[in-house]
Amino acid sequence: MGGPEIERLIGLLARLPGFGPRSARRAALRLLSQPQTRMLPLATALAEAAAAVRSCARCGNLDSRDPCAICTDPQREAGLVCVVEGVGDLWALERAGVHRGTYHVLGGTLSALAGTGPEDLNLAPLLARVAEGGVTEVILALGATVDGATTAHWLADRLKPLGVAISRVAQGVPMGGALDVLDDGTLGAALRARRAF
Protein backbone atom coordinates (compact mmCIF):
# COMPACT_ATOMS: atom_id res chain seq x y z
CA MET A 1 0.00 0.00 0.00
CA GLY A 2 2.56 2.60 1.13
CA GLY A 3 5.68 0.70 2.06
CA PRO A 4 6.61 -1.90 4.70
CA GLU A 5 6.78 0.69 7.53
CA ILE A 6 3.13 1.61 7.13
CA GLU A 7 2.07 -2.04 6.81
CA ARG A 8 3.97 -2.88 9.99
CA LEU A 9 2.39 0.06 11.86
CA ILE A 10 -1.11 -0.99 10.76
CA GLY A 11 -0.37 -4.63 11.66
CA LEU A 12 0.76 -3.69 15.18
CA LEU A 13 -2.15 -1.31 15.77
CA ALA A 14 -4.64 -3.95 14.57
CA ARG A 15 -3.51 -6.26 17.39
CA LEU A 16 -4.60 -3.81 20.08
CA PRO A 17 -7.91 -4.36 21.93
CA GLY A 18 -10.77 -2.54 20.21
CA PHE A 19 -8.89 -2.33 16.92
CA GLY A 20 -9.39 -4.27 13.72
CA PRO A 21 -7.62 -3.87 10.34
CA ARG A 22 -10.00 -1.10 9.25
CA SER A 23 -9.75 0.99 12.45
CA ALA A 24 -5.98 0.37 12.53
CA ARG A 25 -5.70 1.86 9.05
CA ARG A 26 -7.71 4.91 10.15
CA ALA A 27 -5.54 5.39 13.24
CA ALA A 28 -2.33 4.96 11.23
CA LEU A 29 -3.52 7.51 8.68
CA ARG A 30 -4.32 10.03 11.42
CA LEU A 31 -0.90 9.52 13.04
CA LEU A 32 0.95 9.79 9.73
CA SER A 33 -0.90 12.91 8.72
CA GLN A 34 0.34 14.75 11.84
CA PRO A 35 3.70 13.21 12.70
CA GLN A 36 5.02 16.08 14.82
CA THR A 37 1.94 16.65 16.98
CA ARG A 38 0.56 13.09 17.27
CA MET A 39 2.97 10.41 16.18
CA LEU A 40 6.27 11.41 17.76
CA PRO A 41 4.76 12.31 21.18
CA LEU A 42 2.97 8.93 21.12
CA ALA A 43 6.20 7.13 20.19
CA THR A 44 8.03 8.92 23.03
CA ALA A 45 5.26 8.09 25.52
CA LEU A 46 5.29 4.44 24.47
CA ALA A 47 9.07 4.19 24.80
CA GLU A 48 9.09 5.92 28.20
CA ALA A 49 6.26 3.75 29.53
CA ALA A 50 7.94 0.57 28.27
CA ALA A 51 11.18 1.56 29.99
CA ALA A 52 9.75 2.79 33.28
CA VAL A 53 6.54 0.90 34.12
CA ARG A 54 6.92 -2.29 36.16
CA SER A 55 4.72 -4.55 38.28
CA CYS A 56 4.74 -3.60 41.95
CA ALA A 57 6.50 -6.39 43.82
CA ARG A 58 4.10 -5.98 46.74
CA CYS A 59 0.66 -5.78 45.09
CA GLY A 60 1.11 -6.46 41.36
CA ASN A 61 -0.12 -3.01 40.28
CA LEU A 62 1.53 -1.29 37.29
CA ASP A 63 3.57 1.79 38.20
CA SER A 64 6.89 3.45 37.45
CA ARG A 65 7.77 3.11 41.13
CA ASP A 66 8.25 -0.07 43.10
CA PRO A 67 6.51 -0.30 45.60
CA CYS A 68 3.75 1.54 43.73
CA ALA A 69 2.19 4.87 44.70
CA ILE A 70 -0.82 3.14 46.29
CA CYS A 71 1.29 0.84 48.48
CA THR A 72 3.42 3.77 49.73
CA ASP A 73 0.54 6.23 50.26
CA PRO A 74 0.43 6.94 54.05
CA GLN A 75 -3.18 8.18 53.75
CA ARG A 76 -4.37 4.70 52.83
CA GLU A 77 -5.43 1.95 55.25
CA ALA A 78 -2.65 -0.59 54.73
CA GLY A 79 -4.55 -3.24 56.69
CA LEU A 80 -7.49 -3.24 54.27
CA VAL A 81 -6.52 -5.22 51.16
CA CYS A 82 -8.80 -5.46 48.14
CA VAL A 83 -8.03 -8.48 45.94
CA VAL A 84 -8.76 -7.95 42.24
CA GLU A 85 -8.30 -10.06 39.12
CA GLY A 86 -6.43 -7.51 36.99
CA VAL A 87 -5.02 -4.00 36.91
CA GLY A 88 -8.13 -2.93 34.94
CA ASP A 89 -10.28 -3.78 37.97
CA LEU A 90 -7.93 -1.79 40.24
CA TRP A 91 -8.22 1.20 37.91
CA ALA A 92 -12.05 0.88 37.94
CA LEU A 93 -12.12 0.96 41.76
CA GLU A 94 -9.69 3.90 41.85
CA ARG A 95 -11.79 5.76 39.27
CA ALA A 96 -14.85 5.30 41.50
CA GLY A 97 -12.85 6.44 44.54
CA VAL A 98 -14.69 3.97 46.79
CA HIS A 99 -11.77 2.05 48.30
CA ARG A 100 -9.28 3.76 50.63
CA GLY A 101 -7.22 0.69 51.41
CA THR A 102 -4.55 -1.08 49.35
CA TYR A 103 -4.84 -3.71 46.61
CA HIS A 104 -3.54 -7.07 45.52
CA VAL A 105 -3.67 -7.93 41.80
CA LEU A 106 -3.90 -11.68 41.10
CA GLY A 107 -3.26 -11.50 37.37
CA GLY A 108 -6.18 -13.80 36.50
CA THR A 109 -8.39 -16.45 38.07
CA LEU A 110 -8.01 -20.15 38.70
CA SER A 111 -9.42 -22.09 35.77
CA ALA A 112 -9.45 -25.85 35.55
CA LEU A 113 -10.38 -25.72 31.87
CA ALA A 114 -7.77 -23.15 30.86
CA GLY A 115 -5.18 -24.95 33.00
CA THR A 116 -4.53 -21.94 35.25
CA GLY A 117 -3.37 -23.22 38.62
CA PRO A 118 -2.40 -21.42 41.86
CA GLU A 119 1.25 -21.34 40.76
CA ASP A 120 0.31 -19.31 37.67
CA LEU A 121 -1.22 -16.46 39.69
CA ASN A 122 0.05 -13.87 42.17
CA LEU A 123 -1.49 -15.83 45.09
CA ALA A 124 1.49 -16.85 47.23
CA PRO A 125 2.64 -13.22 47.78
CA LEU A 126 -0.85 -12.36 49.06
CA LEU A 127 -0.80 -15.22 51.57
CA ALA A 128 2.72 -14.20 52.63
CA ARG A 129 1.60 -10.58 52.99
CA VAL A 130 -1.29 -11.57 55.25
CA ALA A 131 0.88 -14.00 57.24
CA GLU A 132 3.39 -11.19 57.91
CA GLY A 133 0.68 -9.44 59.94
CA GLY A 134 -0.81 -5.96 59.75
CA VAL A 135 -3.65 -6.97 57.42
CA THR A 136 -7.02 -6.80 59.17
CA GLU A 137 -9.44 -7.46 56.31
CA VAL A 138 -9.21 -8.95 52.82
CA ILE A 139 -11.95 -7.92 50.38
CA LEU A 140 -12.37 -10.42 47.55
CA ALA A 141 -13.46 -8.25 44.59
CA LEU A 142 -13.41 -10.97 41.95
CA GLY A 143 -15.81 -11.46 39.06
CA ALA A 144 -19.19 -13.18 39.51
CA THR A 145 -18.11 -16.04 37.26
CA VAL A 146 -17.47 -19.73 37.93
CA ASP A 147 -13.69 -19.12 37.77
CA GLY A 148 -13.92 -15.96 39.92
CA ALA A 149 -15.93 -17.74 42.60
CA THR A 150 -13.62 -20.80 42.51
CA THR A 151 -10.64 -18.47 43.10
CA ALA A 152 -12.50 -16.68 45.92
CA HIS A 153 -13.28 -19.97 47.72
CA TRP A 154 -9.69 -21.20 47.22
CA LEU A 155 -8.34 -18.00 48.75
CA ALA A 156 -10.89 -17.97 51.59
CA ASP A 157 -9.89 -21.54 52.55
CA ARG A 158 -6.26 -20.45 52.90
CA LEU A 159 -6.86 -17.04 54.48
CA LYS A 160 -9.22 -18.26 57.23
CA PRO A 161 -6.49 -20.04 59.26
CA LEU A 162 -4.46 -16.79 59.20
CA GLY A 163 -7.13 -15.11 61.34
CA VAL A 164 -7.94 -12.26 58.98
CA ALA A 165 -11.48 -10.97 58.28
CA ILE A 166 -12.63 -11.96 54.76
CA SER A 167 -15.41 -10.28 52.80
CA ARG A 168 -16.52 -10.24 49.19
CA VAL A 169 -18.20 -7.61 47.07
CA ALA A 170 -22.00 -7.84 46.84
CA GLN A 171 -23.84 -8.96 43.73
CA GLY A 172 -27.23 -7.72 42.65
CA VAL A 173 -29.23 -4.97 41.01
CA PRO A 174 -27.01 -2.38 39.27
CA MET A 175 -27.65 1.38 39.55
CA GLY A 176 -30.38 2.32 37.11
CA GLY A 177 -31.24 -1.36 36.55
CA ALA A 178 -34.81 -2.58 36.26
CA LEU A 179 -35.67 -5.99 37.71
CA ASP A 180 -37.47 -7.28 34.62
CA VAL A 181 -34.33 -7.13 32.48
CA LEU A 182 -32.03 -8.89 34.98
CA ASP A 183 -31.04 -12.50 34.42
CA ASP A 184 -32.26 -15.19 36.85
CA GLY A 185 -28.85 -15.60 38.45
CA THR A 186 -28.42 -11.91 39.30
CA LEU A 187 -31.98 -11.72 40.64
CA GLY A 188 -31.37 -14.77 42.84
CA ALA A 189 -28.08 -13.33 44.12
CA ALA A 190 -29.74 -9.98 44.84
CA LEU A 191 -32.53 -11.60 46.84
CA ARG A 192 -30.14 -13.81 48.80
CA ALA A 193 -27.99 -10.77 49.67
CA ARG A 194 -30.96 -8.60 50.75
CA ARG A 195 -30.48 -6.48 53.87
CA ALA A 196 -32.66 -4.75 56.44
CA PHE A 197 -34.12 -1.44 55.22
Binding site: G18, L113, A114, V146, A156, D184, G185
Partner: protein, 241 residues
Protein backbone atom coordinates in the same frame (compact mmCIF):
# COMPACT_ATOMS: atom_id res chain seq x y z
CA UNK B 1 -27.14 -26.65 8.60
CA UNK B 2 -28.78 -25.67 11.86
CA UNK B 3 -30.40 -27.14 14.94
CA UNK B 4 -31.88 -25.90 18.19
CA UNK B 5 -31.86 -27.79 21.49
CA UNK B 6 -31.61 -27.40 25.27
CA UNK B 7 -27.91 -27.62 26.17
CA UNK B 8 -25.74 -27.67 29.28
CA UNK B 9 -22.72 -25.37 28.98
CA UNK B 10 -19.58 -27.37 29.77
CA UNK B 11 -17.03 -24.62 29.11
CA UNK B 12 -16.61 -21.33 27.30
CA UNK B 13 -13.06 -20.32 26.46
CA UNK B 14 -12.52 -16.66 25.53
CA UNK B 15 -11.78 -16.20 21.83
CA UNK B 16 -10.74 -12.85 20.44
CA UNK B 17 -11.99 -9.78 22.27
CA UNK B 18 -15.55 -10.72 23.17
CA UNK B 19 -16.29 -14.11 21.65
CA UNK B 20 -16.00 -17.56 23.19
CA UNK B 21 -15.55 -21.12 21.97
CA UNK B 22 -18.35 -22.88 23.84
CA UNK B 23 -18.54 -26.59 24.51
CA UNK B 24 -22.08 -27.77 25.28
CA UNK B 25 -23.80 -31.09 25.98
CA UNK B 26 -27.11 -31.78 24.29
CA UNK B 27 -29.35 -34.83 24.26
CA UNK B 28 -29.24 -35.41 20.50
CA UNK B 29 -25.83 -34.06 19.52
CA UNK B 30 -23.72 -35.00 22.56
CA UNK B 31 -20.71 -32.80 23.33
CA UNK B 32 -20.64 -30.13 20.64
CA UNK B 33 -18.41 -27.07 20.17
CA UNK B 34 -19.19 -23.80 18.47
CA UNK B 35 -18.35 -20.12 18.41
CA UNK B 36 -20.56 -18.07 20.73
CA UNK B 37 -20.36 -14.53 19.35
CA UNK B 38 -20.15 -12.11 22.26
CA UNK B 39 -19.99 -15.10 24.64
CA UNK B 40 -17.16 -13.53 26.66
CA UNK B 41 -18.55 -9.99 26.52
CA UNK B 42 -19.90 -8.32 29.64
CA UNK B 43 -23.40 -8.48 28.18
CA UNK B 44 -23.54 -12.21 27.45
CA UNK B 45 -20.87 -13.78 29.69
CA UNK B 46 -23.49 -14.63 32.35
CA UNK B 47 -25.25 -16.94 29.87
CA UNK B 48 -22.12 -18.87 28.81
CA UNK B 49 -21.05 -20.00 32.30
CA UNK B 50 -20.34 -23.69 32.90
CA UNK B 51 -23.34 -25.61 34.25
CA UNK B 52 -26.01 -23.26 32.87
CA UNK B 53 -28.91 -24.76 30.94
CA UNK B 54 -29.31 -22.75 27.73
CA UNK B 55 -31.60 -23.07 24.72
CA UNK B 56 -28.96 -22.96 21.98
CA UNK B 57 -29.20 -22.58 18.22
CA UNK B 58 -26.26 -23.84 16.19
CA UNK B 59 -25.70 -22.68 12.62
CA UNK B 60 -22.93 -23.89 10.32
CA UNK B 61 -22.51 -24.05 6.55
CA UNK B 62 -21.43 -27.72 6.77
CA UNK B 63 -22.07 -30.29 9.52
CA UNK B 64 -18.36 -30.73 10.28
CA UNK B 65 -17.64 -27.01 10.68
CA UNK B 66 -17.25 -25.33 14.05
CA UNK B 67 -20.34 -23.20 13.41
CA UNK B 68 -21.72 -20.58 15.72
CA UNK B 69 -24.10 -20.54 18.66
CA UNK B 70 -26.71 -18.17 19.93
CA UNK B 71 -28.29 -18.96 23.26
CA UNK B 72 -31.02 -18.01 25.69
CA UNK B 73 -30.62 -18.78 29.38
CA UNK B 74 -33.12 -21.32 30.78
CA UNK B 75 -31.65 -22.20 34.21
CA UNK B 76 -28.76 -20.26 35.80
CA UNK B 77 -27.18 -23.17 37.69
CA UNK B 78 -23.78 -21.43 37.82
CA UNK B 79 -25.10 -18.29 39.51
CA UNK B 80 -26.95 -20.38 42.09
CA UNK B 81 -23.78 -22.34 42.91
CA UNK B 82 -21.32 -19.45 43.29
CA UNK B 83 -21.83 -18.86 47.02
CA UNK B 84 -21.15 -22.38 48.26
CA UNK B 85 -17.70 -23.89 47.77
CA UNK B 86 -18.87 -27.52 47.72
CA UNK B 87 -21.78 -26.86 45.35
CA UNK B 88 -19.46 -24.93 43.04
CA UNK B 89 -16.90 -27.76 43.19
CA UNK B 90 -19.62 -30.25 42.18
CA UNK B 91 -20.71 -28.07 39.27
CA UNK B 92 -17.19 -27.53 37.91
CA UNK B 93 -16.34 -31.21 38.40
CA UNK B 94 -19.31 -32.61 36.43
CA UNK B 95 -18.71 -30.12 33.61
CA UNK B 96 -14.99 -30.93 33.42
CA UNK B 97 -15.56 -34.71 33.60
CA UNK B 98 -18.30 -34.63 30.93
CA UNK B 99 -16.20 -32.46 28.61
CA UNK B 100 -13.07 -34.57 29.05
CA UNK B 101 -14.60 -38.05 29.01
CA UNK B 102 -17.33 -37.90 26.38
CA UNK B 103 -16.45 -38.14 22.69
CA UNK B 104 -17.54 -35.16 20.58
CA UNK B 105 -20.77 -35.22 18.57
CA UNK B 106 -21.96 -38.61 19.84
CA UNK B 107 -25.31 -38.59 21.65
CA UNK B 108 -25.41 -39.89 25.22
CA UNK B 109 -29.00 -39.13 26.30
CA UNK B 110 -28.67 -40.93 29.66
CA UNK B 111 -25.63 -38.89 30.62
CA UNK B 112 -27.41 -35.69 29.55
CA UNK B 113 -30.56 -36.57 31.54
CA UNK B 114 -28.52 -37.48 34.62
CA UNK B 115 -26.51 -34.26 34.43
CA UNK B 116 -29.69 -32.22 33.99
CA UNK B 117 -31.19 -33.77 37.12
CA UNK B 118 -27.94 -33.24 39.01
CA UNK B 119 -27.61 -29.56 38.09
CA UNK B 120 -31.25 -28.87 38.94
CA UNK B 121 -30.77 -30.31 42.44
CA UNK B 122 -27.29 -29.02 43.31
CA UNK B 123 -28.67 -26.99 46.20
CA UNK B 124 -29.57 -30.23 48.06
CA UNK B 125 -25.93 -31.00 48.76
CA UNK B 126 -26.37 -34.39 50.48
CA UNK B 127 -28.55 -35.88 47.75
CA UNK B 128 -26.56 -34.18 45.01
CA UNK B 129 -23.25 -35.72 46.11
CA UNK B 130 -24.70 -39.24 46.04
CA UNK B 131 -26.34 -38.46 42.68
CA UNK B 132 -23.00 -37.19 41.36
CA UNK B 133 -21.27 -40.49 42.21
CA UNK B 134 -24.15 -42.42 40.59
CA UNK B 135 -23.89 -40.16 37.52
CA UNK B 136 -20.16 -40.86 37.22
CA UNK B 137 -20.87 -44.62 37.48
CA UNK B 138 -23.52 -44.24 34.75
CA UNK B 139 -21.03 -42.26 32.63
CA UNK B 140 -18.51 -45.09 32.95
CA UNK B 141 -21.17 -47.61 31.92
CA UNK B 142 -22.15 -45.43 28.94
CA UNK B 143 -18.50 -45.37 27.80
CA UNK B 144 -18.23 -49.15 28.10
CA UNK B 145 -16.41 -49.28 31.44
CA UNK B 146 -19.40 -50.16 33.63
CA UNK B 147 -18.91 -51.46 37.17
CA UNK B 148 -20.44 -54.85 38.02
CA UNK B 149 -21.97 -54.34 41.45
CA UNK B 150 -24.69 -57.04 41.24
CA UNK B 151 -22.82 -59.93 42.86
CA UNK B 152 -19.52 -60.90 44.47
CA UNK B 153 -16.78 -61.75 41.97
CA UNK B 154 -15.47 -64.48 44.34
CA UNK B 155 -18.58 -66.17 45.79
CA UNK B 156 -21.29 -65.11 43.30
CA UNK B 157 -23.46 -63.99 46.20
CA UNK B 158 -25.41 -60.72 46.10
CA UNK B 159 -25.18 -60.28 49.89
CA UNK B 160 -22.78 -58.25 52.04
CA UNK B 161 -21.09 -56.48 49.11
CA UNK B 162 -18.54 -54.03 50.55
CA UNK B 163 -15.63 -53.67 48.11
CA UNK B 164 -14.80 -53.36 44.42
CA UNK B 165 -11.77 -54.81 42.69
CA UNK B 166 -9.66 -51.97 41.24
CA UNK B 167 -8.64 -54.28 38.39
CA UNK B 168 -11.94 -55.72 37.20
CA UNK B 169 -14.52 -53.26 38.56
CA UNK B 170 -16.48 -56.18 40.06
CA UNK B 171 -17.95 -56.16 43.55
CA UNK B 172 -16.43 -58.26 46.35
CA UNK B 173 -18.26 -59.22 49.55
CA UNK B 174 -16.80 -58.38 52.96
CA UNK B 175 -16.35 -62.06 53.78
CA UNK B 176 -14.51 -62.87 50.55
CA UNK B 177 -12.21 -59.87 50.69
CA UNK B 178 -9.95 -61.45 53.32
CA UNK B 179 -6.32 -60.32 53.15
CA UNK B 180 -7.03 -58.35 49.95
CA UNK B 181 -9.07 -55.72 51.83
CA UNK B 182 -6.37 -53.00 51.83
CA UNK B 183 -6.00 -53.31 48.06
CA UNK B 184 -9.73 -53.12 47.31
CA UNK B 185 -11.84 -50.00 46.86
CA UNK B 186 -14.63 -49.47 49.37
CA UNK B 187 -18.13 -49.79 47.94
CA UNK B 188 -20.50 -47.32 49.64
CA UNK B 189 -23.95 -48.78 50.40
CA UNK B 190 -25.78 -45.95 48.61
CA UNK B 191 -24.43 -47.22 45.28
CA UNK B 192 -26.38 -50.44 45.98
CA UNK B 193 -29.48 -48.43 46.85
CA UNK B 194 -29.09 -49.21 50.56
CA UNK B 195 -29.21 -46.77 53.45
CA UNK B 196 -28.48 -43.06 53.81
CA UNK B 197 -25.06 -41.70 52.81
CA UNK B 198 -22.64 -39.54 54.80
CA UNK B 199 -19.38 -37.73 54.01
CA UNK B 200 -17.28 -40.91 54.34
CA UNK B 201 -19.59 -42.71 51.87
CA UNK B 202 -19.40 -39.82 49.37
CA UNK B 203 -15.62 -39.81 49.67
CA UNK B 204 -15.47 -43.59 49.11
CA UNK B 205 -17.85 -43.26 46.16
CA UNK B 206 -15.75 -40.50 44.59
CA UNK B 207 -12.58 -42.55 45.14
CA UNK B 208 -14.23 -45.57 43.48
CA UNK B 209 -15.52 -43.79 40.36
CA UNK B 210 -12.43 -41.55 40.27
CA UNK B 211 -10.17 -44.62 40.04
CA UNK B 212 -11.99 -45.98 36.97
CA UNK B 213 -12.45 -42.56 35.37
CA UNK B 214 -8.71 -41.92 35.70
CA UNK B 215 -7.70 -45.38 34.47
CA UNK B 216 -10.27 -45.97 31.73
CA UNK B 217 -12.17 -42.88 30.58
CA UNK B 218 -9.23 -40.45 30.83
CA UNK B 219 -6.30 -42.84 30.98
CA UNK B 220 -7.06 -44.34 27.58
CA UNK B 221 -6.66 -40.83 26.13
CA UNK B 222 -3.42 -40.34 28.14
CA UNK B 223 -4.99 -37.52 30.11
CA UNK B 224 -5.18 -37.06 33.88
CA UNK B 225 -8.43 -36.51 35.77
CA UNK B 226 -9.44 -32.83 35.53
CA UNK B 227 -8.14 -30.67 38.43
CA UNK B 228 -11.76 -29.70 39.19
CA UNK B 229 -12.55 -33.37 39.94
CA UNK B 230 -9.55 -33.61 42.29
CA UNK B 231 -10.65 -30.39 44.02
CA UNK B 232 -14.10 -31.89 44.63
CA UNK B 233 -12.57 -35.06 46.09
CA UNK B 234 -10.35 -32.98 48.40
CA UNK B 235 -13.34 -30.96 49.64
CA UNK B 236 -15.40 -34.09 50.36
CA UNK B 237 -12.41 -35.82 51.99
CA UNK B 238 -12.07 -32.78 54.30
CA UNK B 239 -15.74 -33.16 55.23
CA UNK B 240 -15.23 -36.85 56.03
CA UNK B 241 -12.33 -36.19 58.41
Amino acid sequence: MEWEAPAIILSARPYGEGDAIASVLTEEHGVHRGLARGGASSRHAAVWQGGNLVQVRWVGRLADQLGSYTGELVHAAAALALDDALTLAMLTSVCAVAEGALPERQPHPRVFAGMLHLLANLAHREEALADLVRWEAALLAELGYGLDLARCAVTGSGEDLAFVSPKTGRAVSAGAAGAWKPRLLRLPAFLLGQGPAGPADWRDGLRLTGHFLARDAFGHHHRPLPPARQLLYDRVADLAE
